[in-house]
């Protein structure tokens, strides 16, 4: 049984349908990447999983249990298992780094503050920012903010980490510090679903790559197969353009 099974999912932004029946599986400990041209619905897939964009059809199963996205309680339960990191970090600007990381575990999950703080400091060390615990987000670089955002998501102890173009808003020289963090998490066996335009990185860390276009999965498979021998014209065309540059 796959850890996460997305089956024939449809989603709408207002009246515009952006996902037209998406299906894929993620196994425990796997890193799966969604790639494809902009507007293909990659980010929407992540957003629907955490209930930020309404699902209008199909179903999502975690460990064989279906998530009913029409029930607020079920969405909450889904968010307990999946945490998302955004392209623009979205750290709370009015709080220190440490409070950004500890707020949800203490206030929402009701865990003891001392324990959560100790964990948070450990997570901040993991992303190399333990010394920034008392800084505010606007005092950090984009790369540092994104690493804090990853620590914040990890503090929720998710089973699956969703990374939405986590390096797209960063200056080129800051991309690697974030990718190193993701690389390390992959090495530790974290189940991750990521949307990325960093093709060489995707090829390096992914167990599986899903190529999407116009709200549909065009093809999927191991990175070698998708990048080097795509079977669809659309994928060949896309990779031909971006890989040869």
């Amino acid at each position: 049984m796959p850890h996460l099974a997305v089956s024939d999912v449809f989603a709408k932004y207002g009246k515009l349908e952006v996902l037209h029946g998406i299906s894929f599986d993620v196994e425990r400990g796997e890193v799966v990447s969604l790639v494809g041209p902009s507007g293909s619905g990659k980010s929407t897939v992540l957003r629907t999983l955490v209930g930020l964009t309404p699902v209008t059809g199909g179903h999502v199963d975690v460990d064989g249990t279906s998530i009913d996205y029409h029930s607020a309680r079920a969405i909450k339960a889904a968010r307990d298992r999946m945490a998302i990191v955004f392209q623009q970090f979205n750290l709370f600007q009015n709080m220190t780094v440490l409070r950004n990381v500890t707020l949800a575990p203490t206030k929402i999950k009701g865990r003891p503050k001392a324990e959560v703080e100790a964990e948070a400091i450990e997570l901040l060390s993991l992303v190399g920012l333990a010394d920034k615990r008392d800084a505010y987000p606007d005092e950090l670089s984009g790369g540092q903010q994104q690493r804090v955002a990853i620590a914040r998501a990890l503090a929720l102890k998710p089973e699956i980490l969703l990374l939405d173009e986590v390096t797209s808003a960063l200056d080129p020289e800051l991309v690697n510090e974030v990718l190193d963090t993701v690389r390390r998490l992959a090495g530790e066996g974290m189940t991750m679903l990521l949307v990325s335009h960093e093709m060489s990185f995707v090829r390096e860390v992914s167990n599986k790559v899903i190529f999407m276009d116009k709200g549909r999965v065009v093809e999927s498979g191991p990175p070698g197969q998708i990048f080097d021998a795509p079977t669809s014209d659309r994928a060949r065309d896309f990779f031909g353009k971006i890989l040869r540059g």
Binding site: L52, R79, F86, N90, F92
Partner: protein
């Protein structure tokens, strides 16, 4: 003019000044209490106004209607409406309480829009981040939206309250012993109108000026994140 000068020692007596000080305190306290409670209720109104779901539609309409209606009615009319409405319900409500309720009623409508504007200035992505971590709407409002919106909300809210100190002169119409009412009384006792209302005018100025200075100080402080943090530190110590 001679009459005015002749009246000076008679006017600036201990008892007259105590009377005016008392009236000034009345003006100040009903404005501050009214605006403070009004601000709190405006927060509730703004929160209710953004309740999602079809079932909450009448609630949202009612909230919008309240703001739009009361912003378009003169304050004096609001005072009379509150007075007569309350008198049909109960006859032993003090005039001071009625004045405070009228100020509240009016302040809610104005500050609700100020608060809404401030909250809407916080990027939607901040709210999504909170949602994705299962924050309730109320918690998102108090821990994420409001703290970031204070710099936008506080300066105009303070400016509104300070300017309202003078507008409360209108409640003298229903006989609350506030500053303007006492002025009319003293004037009726035969004191020169220029003398009496000049003193009253000075009293209003003395009340609002320091408060608007405080408002400007806060505005400057709140304008930068660094200043905000400084304020936060002051509050913590």
């Amino acid at each position: 003019m001679e009459r005015l000068i002749a009246q000076l020692p008679e006017f600036f007596t201990w008892s007259n000044m105590a009377l005016l000080a008392d009236a000034a305190l009345m003006t100040l306290s009903m404005t501050l209490i009214g605006c403070f409670i009004g601000f709190g209720l405006a927060l509730v109104l703004v929160f209710l106004r953004t309740t999602p779901g079809l079932w909450a539609l009448p609630l949202r309409v009612a909230c919008i209607a309240y703001v739009e209606v009361f912003r378009r009615i003169p304050f004096l009319v609001v005072i009379y409406l509150v007075l007569f409405f309350i008198q049909t319900v109960s006859t032993d409500v003090s005039l001071f309480a009625i004045a405070v309720i009228a100020i509240c009623t009016y302040a809610i409508a104005y500050t609700a829009d100020i608060i809404r504007g401030g909250i809407e200035s916080v990027p939607h992505t901040q709210i999504e981040a909170a949602q994705a971590m299962n924050f309730s709407r109320l918690r998102t409002l108090f821990t994420v939206q409001l703290p970031q919106a204070w710099p936008i909300i506080l300066p105009p809210a303070i400016a509104f309250s300070v300017s309202f100190i003078k507008d409360t002169a209108l409640v003298s119409q229903i006989g609350v012993f506030e500053l303007t009412f006492r002025g009319k009384e003293l004037n009726n006792q035969g004191f020169s109108g220029i003398l009496v209302f000049g003193t009253i005018a000075m009293s209003y100025f003395l009340m609002s000026f320091p408060l608007s200075m405080l408002g400007q100080y806060l505005e400057k402080r709140l304008a930068t994140p660094r200043g905000q943090r400084r304020l936060r530190k002051i509050r913590q110590t």
